[in-house]
């Protein structure tokens, strides 16, 4: 896509985080960018074309910014786009119910002298809260076009399109008081129209001590002018005890407050949910769901200890039922007392309960359990099984086909429509191939070998196993993200994350890491300091298993016993905390403040979740499939050349004596570098073969799975680590993780011997 930038104007979308810029971008350009209910999701600038204007114009979606005097990398990106020198219009997106915060930016754009169109988005949420904004009055004060929209429902877009050409510079001027105004005029004299941007705006930024701007101006101004500016700043600063940037912010805020007083009205009464809906929610859904939480918590607990203790069925039934009853009673009474009486909206109640000091924790466990059921059992169990053995099958033996049937719940019968006699894609490919070449041919083996064929293993694996697991995970993640649950999770884990040198904000990369560590490593950019970004990258590479790997591990360990899965989780979590704690002590730098906006709890839009999942999975498959095929190829070549057995011999002392695993497991660890989950499967297969007849040794399995989880990240993740953190840091992390994971495995083996 190439556009001639000289004679077309550009449109830049600007606004606070989480106000819907990306949705509007999508509607203007027809291009999808990830839309999310988590502040700071747009880390990269997206560009597209809006055809509505003559010749078409480029639309730029900027990361959310609260101020055009940047405090973080993404805010700097947004600001830089506004400073670039070409003809542009600004479409500023404002969350209508948070007009004040939006107008704080509008004043800065006005100072820059850029034409603006103000979009008051989420108009429905404003009305829901019983407020109103007098658009005509606001338009009258600012002299710019203003439109109201509900972007997710595509309401108000015709006016938006019509108004874009009429964008104009807001007529406002803030008086910052005698001393600052004098400072501004002094700085303006130095700047002397050296750039395309309005001098006054630059002067205000420079007085606020915007260092990144000074760097940008370095080529345009004579070198001694910066000393001059610093001197002026100091002179002005003498009159104030607070930093100038703060004084300027206060003045700006007072200006906006005055403006807002004139244009907003509060109708007073919030729109209430219908009494029937509320009744159903508080007196039926809450007790029912709380009962389920209590019941499930106890049954999970019983499952974990069932290895060591045998509990009679009746007792466990009584325990579960009473826990359910207790939980139900507590929740209902508490919510009735605090929420029902105060006539809060249901979504507000949900938003509050999910970060309540006590109630949020049982909820969290249930949510984790539900995600596990969804991804681990349904996604990586049922779906993978069906795809792998029925649809793809094996080149050697035909699968026996499957039934299309329907399960009728109440009479407990399965009604079968028809039997599909499908022997598996690989089987048919195999048959076809055998018409041309024999089974012993090298090329046949290259593609259809049982252990390392490119189609039989590489492609099948990517599509039949990884695809469903990742897809199901991203669906679950999308729901957590769009409902607003993730930011609330950030509130809950902040205290713990503080101990490992991060803060609550890091919950997004960490949870996303459970889907794909590679993708998560890229989102560590939202963290504030370099120290945090390094710690997050290290922990992702070390201790966060990706969904594909976790799916395999959960199904393998879960099939053996609950206690081993619990032990696995415990070990990995303790390593996460331990290494995090150590690195927070070792690495220089102070912890950064946790200061995060919590978006309202919303009903997620199903279509958005599906679109988002589609784009994420699509990205993932593009990255993963070639690597899978490449990995399988490497494995194939290595087997044929005997390299593999050489490495096995090299690793033998460590693997066999220190970890107590069969030599063949070495292959699994090597594969782990190509795909983490791949390694887990192949180790499982090795152990299965070794324990033929008398079953797998669970202790060996636990050791090997702990090591493969902690083991070096997959190759894709490693490349992203190099890209994001630099080659030196990435190799240092690599050099730490490799021996450390084996050390922990060895220690675990010794500890397990005692039991």
């Amino acid at each position: 896509m190439h556009i001639d930038t000289t004679n077309t104007s550009k449109i830049a979308l600007v606004g606070n985080p989480n106000v819907g810029k990306s949705v509007i971008f999508g509607l203007l350009t027809g291009k999808y960018v990830t839309v999310s209910n988590y502040p700071g999701t747009t880390v990269e600038v997206s560009r597209g074309i809006y055809k509505g204007l003559d010749g078409g114009s480029e639309v730029i979606d900027t990361p959310g910014a609260n101020s055009l005097i940047p405090l973080s990398e993404d805010e700097a990106v947004a600001r830089d786009i506004l400073l670039e020198s070409y003809n542009k219009r600004i479409v500023q997106v404002v969350d209508a119910k948070n007009l004040r915060r939006g107008l704080l930016i509008t004043t800065q754009i006005a100072e820059m002298g850029l034409p603006v169109l103000l979009v008051l988005n989420m108009w429905d949420e404003l009305l829901d809260r019983g407020m109103n904004v007098d658009i005509n009055a606001l338009q009258g004060s600012l002299k710019i076009p203003i439109v109201k929209t509900i972007a997710t429902h595509k309401v108000g877009f015709r006016e938006l399109f019509h108004s874009i050409p009429h964008a104009s510079v807001p007529e406002l001027r803030i008086n910052y008081g005698k001393f600052i105004e004098e400072g501004i005029s002094h700085v303006c004299r130095i700047l002397n129209n050296a750039t395309v941007v309005n001098d006054r705006a630059l002067a205000i930024m420079l007085l606020s001590h915007d260092e990144s701007l000074e760097k940008k101006l370095q080529q345009k101004l004579p070198p001694d002018s910066f000393q001059e500016i610093a001197r002026i700043r100091e002179d002005v600063q003498k009159h104030f005890s607070n930093p100038l940037s703060y004084v300027i912010s206060i003045k700006r805020s007072q200006f906006v407050d005055n403006l807002i007083e004139k244009v907003t009205t509060s109708a007073g009464n919030e729109r209430e949910a219908r009494p029937f809906t509320r009744g159903v929610f508080f007196f039926f859904l809450v007790p029912l769901f709380a009962f389920f939480i209590g019941y499930k918590l106890v049954s999970l607990l019983l499952f974990t200890i069932s290895m060591k203790l045998s509990i009679p069925d009746l007792l466990s039934m009584i325990l579960q039922l009473s826990a359910g009853g207790m939980m139900s009673l507590c929740f209902t009474l508490y919510l009735y007392e605090t929420e029902f009486k105060t006539r809060k909206k249901i979504s507000e109640t949900l938003g509050r309960i999910t970060m309540h000091p006590i109630a949020a924790f049982p909820l969290l466990i249930i949510i984790l359990w539900a995600v596990y059921k969804w991804v681990g059992e349904f996604g990586s169990g049922v779906c993978v099984d069906f795809l792998e053995s029925k649809i793809f099958g094996s080149a050697e033996t035909p699968s026996d086909g499957f039934n299309i049937c329907i399960y009728i719940p109440f009479i407990k019968k399965i009604y079968t429509f028809t039997h599909i006699n499908f022997a598996g894609i690989n089987y048919y490919i195999g048959l076809l191939a055998q018409k041309i070449i024999s089974k012993d041919n090298l090329i046949y083996e290259l593609f259809l070998n049982e252990q390392s064929g490119l189609i039989q293993v590489g492609l099948t694996y990517a599509i039949a196993i990884v695809f469903p697991i990742v897809g199901f995970f991203f669906l679950a993640f999308g729901i957590m993200e769009d409902s607003g649950y993730l930011p609330r999770l950030a509130v809950m884990v902040d205290k713990i994350f503080k101990q490992i040198g991060l803060n609550g904000k890091a919950v997004l990369p960490m949870v996303l890491g459970l889907g794909c560590d590679t993708m998560a490593t890229m989102t560590t950019r939202i963290l504030n300091t370099k120290k945090e970004r390094i710690i997050a990258t290290l922990l992702l590479a070390l201790a966060i298993p990706c969904s594909a790997q976790l799916g395999v591990i959960a199904s393998v360990l879960g099939s053996i016993s609950g206690i081993y899965f619990a032990a696995y989780a415990l070990i990995i979590c303790s390593q996460l905390l331990f290494v995090g704690y150590l690195s927070s002590k070792i690495l220089p730098g102070a912890p950064s403040d946790f200061l995060m906006e919590i978006p309202p709890f919303r009903m997620p839009k199903i279509s958005n979740i599906f679109i988002k999942t589609f784009y994420r999975v699509n990205w993932f498959m593009k990255e993963a499939v070639p690597l899978f095929v490449l990995g399988t190829l490497v494995l194939f070549v290595a087997t044929k050349l005997g390299v593999l057995s050489f490495v096995e011999r090299m690793g033998k002392p460590v693997i066999e004596h220190f970890l107590g695993l069969p030599v063949e497991a070495t292959r699994g660890f090597i594969l782990g570098f190509l795909r983490r989950d791949y390694g887990a499967v192949s180790i499982f297969k090795v152990l299965e073969e070794q324990g033929k007849g008398h079953g797998i040794d669970p202790k060996q399995l636990l050791v090997s799975l702990v090591v493969i989880t902690l083991f070096i990240p997959c190759i894709a993740n490693f490349f992203v680590m190099i890209k994001e953190r630099g080659a030196k840091n990435a190799f240092l992390m690599f050099a730490f993780i490799l021996p450390y994971s084996i050390l922990i495995g060895g220690l675990l083996k010794i500890v397990l011997r005692v039991f």
Binding site: I69, R100, D257, G351, P357, F594, L595, E597
Partner: protein
């Protein structure tokens, strides 16, 4: 004008009254222990500081005001010597006795402010409050406090933000958390969650400590 010996006597009358509710003339003279106690007493009567009634000594309004200031100076001096200068108890008493005679009103106020308007002396007796103490109680002390001391579920207005970290100040102000803004505290644990207009913001306790608010 009365001299320091008369001031001592007035002080004694106040303390005896504080302990026993009334002051007997005999007890007073015995405690004073000086031979000229009787003459001093007469001078005070002549100057209208005290009344003699049924063998009891009673402070007049004028006497009460004067005694109150002397006591205040004495006990503030004790606090100063004890808390700040860390003088030993014996020498504290004797020095305080000297302080009470030469401290001007202005210096007394400064000491009172310096010590944070204490309400009791090191012996646990109450210090009569001066104008400065009354003012503080009304205007500053309980009115503005860190956000960490606000009760959950209450509304407040930001008074000022005090922090060593420039970046923190900028971050708060870019979010719109500035003096004069009304907030509502939702919860304190595990992290502070406040509502500002229609925005919910989660903040660390370290940041919350720097935000000073008043009820409203």
């Amino acid at each position: 004008m009365i001299e320091s010996c008369h001031e001592e006597l007035l002080e004694l009358i106040w303390t005896i009254e504080e302990e026993h509710g009334e002051t007997e003339k005999e007890l007073l003279i015995k405690k004073e222990g000086s031979s000229s106690a009787e003459t001093y007493l007469q001078t005070l009567v002549d100057n209208g500081y005290i009344l003699l009634k049924n063998n009891n000594v009673i402070l007049t309004k004028k006497g009460q005001a004067e005694a109150r200031l002397i006591i205040r100076r004495h006990r503030l001096a004790e606090r100063l010597l004890h808390d700040v200068l860390e003088v030993k108890e014996e020498s504290m008493d004797s020095s305080a006795c000297e302080f009470e005679h030469f401290l001007s009103e202005e210096v007394t106020t400064s000491i009172c402010t310096l010590l944070g308007h204490p309400s009791t002396c090191p012996h646990g007796k109450s210090i009569p409050p001066g104008d400065c103490c009354v003012k503080t109680n009304k205007e500053i002390q309980p009115v503005v406090f860190p956000l960490t001391e606000l009760q959950t579920g209450k509304n407040a207005k930001i008074s000022y933000i005090v922090t060593k970290f420039h970046g923190r100040l900028d971050r708060l102000s870019s979010m719109g958390l500035l003096p004069g803004v009304k907030i509502h505290l939702h919860q304190k644990y595990p992290t502070y969650v406040i509502q500002m207009g229609q925005t919910q913001i989660a903040i660390d306790s370290t940041v919350a400590r720097d935000i000073y608010v008043r009820h409203g």
